[in-house]
Structures are given as C-alpha cells and as structure tokens.
C-alpha cells in the first residue's frame, strides 16, 4: 500500500485499492446470492416435504452455475412493439441500483494483514452512508417501473404499476423506522453506528440496548417494510403469478430475466445487511476484541439469519390482497414508525 502510494500518489493508490475492493465485493456478493437461490430451493423443498435440486454436484452444490449457463444459452426474445431502449435499460438500472449499496457496509472491525498493514473491513467509508443507501434504493424503483412500461404488455404494465406504488409506499416507513437508530447514534456513518454498539460482551445491540433507547419497534417495522420493498412473499403482488403471469418481467427472457432475478436476491442481501448493521450490531459479537477476524463470521451469521427468515416466510405465508397491502402500509406501519421516532426523540430529550 505504502509502496504503491509512493509510486503513483496517494489519491490514485486509494482509487485503485477501492476499485479492487469494489470488484471483490461484487464477486463475493454475487456468489452469496447464487447460493441463496440454491438454499431457497432446498429449504422450500424441505418445508414442502420434497427434495429440491440435488443432482448437479454433491447435494446440488453446482446448481447455480447450471442455472447461469442455462440463462446464458436461452433465446433472447424482444417483443416487437416494445420501447427498445427503455426495455434494455430497465434490467441494467435494476441490477446497478441493487449492487451499488453493498460497498458501504462494514463487515468486520479493524484488522491487520502482513504487507498491507491495519485497515478497516469496509470498501468505502463516508459521512452519509445511510442516506446513500436510501437514495440508491429509491432509484431502484425505475428498473421495475420502466420494465413494466416498456414491455408493451398488460400484465407487465399492471405489475410495474403495482410494484412502483408498493415500493414508494413502503419506502416511507422503511426510512422512518431507521430514524430511531440515527437519533440514538447521532450519525449517519454506518461504521460509527456499529462501533457505538460495542460493549456488554459484544451484545449491546441497538435492538435491546436499554442504556439508550431499545429500537425493537423500529426493528420490526423495518423488517416488514424491507420485505415489502424487495417484493418478496407475502408482499410479492407485483409478480403474483396467479393474476399477472410474472408481473413486470413477464416479457423478459434469458440473461435480462436473470438480471432481474439477481437484482431481487441482491436486494434481499443488502436489506439484510442494513438490518444487521443498524439493529443487530453489525460485526459486534463475543470475542471480537480478542480475535478481530471473528467479526466477519458474526456479520455473515446475522445476515444469513435474515436470508433464512425470508425463505421461511416464503414457505409459510399466503399473499396479501392489494388493498390490504396499501392500507397496512399507510394506516398501520407508517403511524407506528412515526410513533417510534417521536417516542425515541422524547426519551432522548428527557435524558439530556
């Protein structure tokens, strides 16, 4: 690192280091996503009393690669009456907006390696990390909305409209449920939010931190609105197959469909990481101060718990009706999230 910055200047050395970090991060996340898909199929199979894919490799371990090969070699079908440019743009927006937030999450404490020195296990660390995540999430709506519009199909349009209405509605309660954590932490920097959760043998997490204000209500509202934001069961109205064939990606095939598919699972992964970082202490856990690398294990364990929760809910719950979904979001979740903000602020004010 020092050698590199002596050669070409500190600015460029940092840029190169972050470029490598971003690429490694993308590859790791995409691998995790591929195995989330496999885990989902196996766990769903277990819940429904069947086996799931288990033929490709030992126990079906190479199934994601077989799926990817299949997606690459399928025929690309473009509807004749589609709006061509927007039709190609939509999956790109979806996957870009899904992948961009992953660089800001701290997945471990400060560690040291030979030749490199001490460094933080995070790709980019900046002041407004949380706002950055929310901003990119709000841009992700375009992928779905434009895909529905440009396909020139009634099912796609209905799915796109439903998806964008749902994502706009639940974005509000998603953002408001995070305000409580921001209030007790006093910062938008995810690194310092995690570092403030240290103590109590690594278990002083924001969810039950009674020395500050426990954010259990914020956690539950965040979890529900995050599931709605990623269009997963029981909020998967945009792709309700009994009504809309496949919703906004009805007319997409081959690799473009795979991009939407990947974007959905990357979104699941990022909202799980955000829940872990803000409410469950990120990489904080027992023995992190003794052996820093174990923080990565704690972080991945917590994220895996949320991913399992997603799959579990999909195997258990039926789908909402659209008016139920809207009234639940606006008339229940949003007031509860606002109430959580007011109560947290009042307690903080009284303690001052």
């Amino acid at each position: 690192m020092d050698w590199l910055s002596n050669q070409i200047g500190a600015e460029w050395a940092r840029a190169i280091a972050q470029f490598i970090g971003i690429n490694v991060g993308f590859v790791v996340v995409l691998m995790i996503v591929a195995y989330t898909v496999l885990a989902e199929r196996r766990v769903l199979g277990f819940i429904q009393g069947r086996l799931g894919p288990n033929r490709v490799g030992p126990g079906g371990l190479f199934q994601p690669f077989a799926d990817l090969l299949k997606f690459i070699f399928k025929e690309e079908i473009t509807p004749t009456a589609s709006t061509r440019f927007v039709y190609f743009l939509a999956p790109i927006i979806a996957i870009t907006a899904a992948l961009m937030p992953i660089i800001v999450y701290p997945f471990g404490p400060e560690v040291s390696l030979p030749f490199i020195g001490r460094f933080h296990l995070v790709v980019a660390r900046f002041d407004i990390a949380l706002l950055y995540v929310l901003g990119i999430t709000s841009v992700g709506v375009y992928g779905v909305a434009l895909a529905g519009w440009s396909s020139n199909s009634k099912y796609s349009l209905m799915g796109g409209l439903r998806a964008s209405a749902q994502m706009i509605s639940y974005e509000l309660s998603l953002g408001l449920s995070l305000v409580g954590v921001v209030l007790i932490s006093g910062t938008l920097d995810l690194n310092s939010i995690v570092e403030q959760q240290g103590g109590w043998f690594g278990l002083r997490w924001n969810v039950w931190d009674i020395s500050r204000v426990p954010q259990i209500v914020g956690f539950v509202t965040y979890l529900i609105s995050a599931i709605a934001e990623t269009n997963r069961v029981p909020f998967d109205l945009p792709e309700a197959e009994t009504e809309l064939v496949a919703g906004f990606h009805t007319e997409y095939s081959a690799l473009k469909f795979a991009l939407f598919f990947m974007a959905e699972y990357v979104n699941m992964f990022t909202v799980s990481m955000l829940a872990t970082t803000l409410f469950l202490g990120g990489w904080q856990g027992p023995f992190v101060d003794v052996f820093p690398w174990i923080g990565v294990v704690w972080f991945l364990l917590k994220v895996t718990f949320f991913l399992f929760l997603y799959i579990w809910l999909r195997g258990t719950l039926p789908r909402f009706r659209f008016d139920q979904l809207m009234s639940f979001g606006w008339k229940f979740l949003l007031p509860v999230a606002i109430l959580n903000v007011i109560i947290t602020a009042t307690i903080l004010w009284l303690r001052l």
């Binding site: 743009l89 002041d127 709000s138 706009i168």
Partner: protein, 227 residues
C-alpha cells in the same frame, strides 16, 4: 487530477442529458434524461465536498419527484410529441447569436482575461458546509423560521391537492367518508348509502345503460341464449 477527470465526466454527462431532455420527442425519454441530469449533478456535488446535498438531490429529485412524473407518463400513456412547424422564424438566428455571445464570453474570461479573472481549479478544502451535522445545526438554529414556514407551505399544497382531488359531484366509489352525510338519491330505485359499494355499482351500470355505453343485462342474456 482525479477530481478534474471526474468533473469533466459528470459535467459532460449533465450537459448531454440536459440536451437530450429538450431534444427528445418521447416524454418518457425526456424524463429518463432528466433523471440522468439529477444523478450527474449529485455526483458533481460529491466532488465539491457536499455529500449531504448530493444524497438529498438523489433522494428528493431522482427518487421521489421523477418517480411520480414517470408514473404519470406511464398511466396516461402519452404519445410522442408531434413536431409543429416553427412559426417565429426570426428567433432561430437570434438564439444562435446569443449562444455565440455566451461561448465567446466564456472563452474570453478563460483565455484572454487578466490573470486575476482566470478561474483556477480550487483545491479541495476541509470545510464543513455540506456536511450533515452543519446543515442540521443550521436548519434548527439560524434558519429555523424559514424552515418551518416552508413546511407550512408544503402542508398547504398537500391540503390543496386533497381538496381538489375530492371535489366529485357524484361519488364513483361509495367508501365511507367519500359520501355526504345525507345519502344522495340518484333514482327512485337506486339509493347509495355510505359504504354500499354494490349500490354504487348498480347506479353506475344504470347510468351507463342510459347513456348507451353498455348493453342492458337482459339483452345480453338473450344474445347468449341464442348462441
């Protein structure tokens, strides 16, 4: 050096998207170009050490306002704009002349002006103008009154929008609260009570049959019987 490269990249993106927004005939393409302008402006704010303003630019403009614009375009299914012949022909040379003057002015300042007027690239400073904490402190101390007055203004706009949207003479959907206290009587046999969606449907069907927009159910049953 890196900052200058980034500035050139995002500046070119902003200008290109702005030109595309005006030149496009399809309104959805214009909207997408406008989103591109907002995103590149946010990136420019980032290079100017104002991360909070950049994030707010993305969240408010690209994430909220433009989503509604795209939504409206999708719902209305707006067609491509038809090019009408230009009526005010003398405006074309005038605009070309004004643009030339503007470019000449900028070139003069950059190249021929005195050394003091020349714009040197400003080195990144460690100011706290664009940071979250300083903006929050400013909003809730020095600029509290303008901030609160603006929020009242937005509340007024909200109330106005709801008032405009609710002015319907005959309720299409008889949800509670959408119907006046006294149930409006449309006809002798169709009375709409608050919350009675079935009666609303009957009234709507009746009015459609009267205006010839739908076939009467008896006639349709006869046709099906014949088939």
């Amino acid at each position: 050096m890196l900052m200058v490269l980034l500035f050139i990249l995002f500046g070119a993106m902003a200008v290109g998207c702005a030109v595309a927004m005006v030149a496009q005939r399809n309104p959805l393409y214009s909207a997408i170009s406008l989103i591109g302008v907002f995103v590149s402006l946010a990136c420019l704010y980032l290079t100017l050490q104002a991360p909070f303003i950049a994030a707010v630019q993305i969240i408010v403009y690209a994430g909220a306002i433009m989503v509604l614009v795209v939504f409206v375009i999708m719902l209305l299914n707006v067609d491509e704009e038809v090019r009408r012949p230009v009526r005010l022909h003398f405006l074309i040379p005038v605009s070309v002349f004004l643009a030339a003057v503007l470019v000449a002015e900028a070139a003069f300042i950059l190249k021929l002006g005195s050394a003091s007027a020349r714009v040197e690239p400003i080195a990144p400073q460690t100011s706290d103008i664009g940071l979250t904490a300083s903006i929050g402190a400013g909003l809730f101390t020095t600029y509290l009154l303008p901030f609160e007055v603006t929020s009242v203004l937005i509340l007024m706009a909200l109330v106005g929008a709801i008032t405009l949207a609710r002015q319907t003479r005959t309720p299409l959907l008889a949800v509670p609260g959408n119907v006046d206290a006294a149930p409006p009587v449309r006809d002798d046999d169709v009375v709409i009570l608050p919350g009675d969606t079935a009666a609303t449907g009957r009234a709507f069907a009746k009015s459609q049959i009267e205006h010839g927009e739908a076939a009467a159910p008896a006639a349709r049953a006869n046709e099906e019987g014949r088939q």
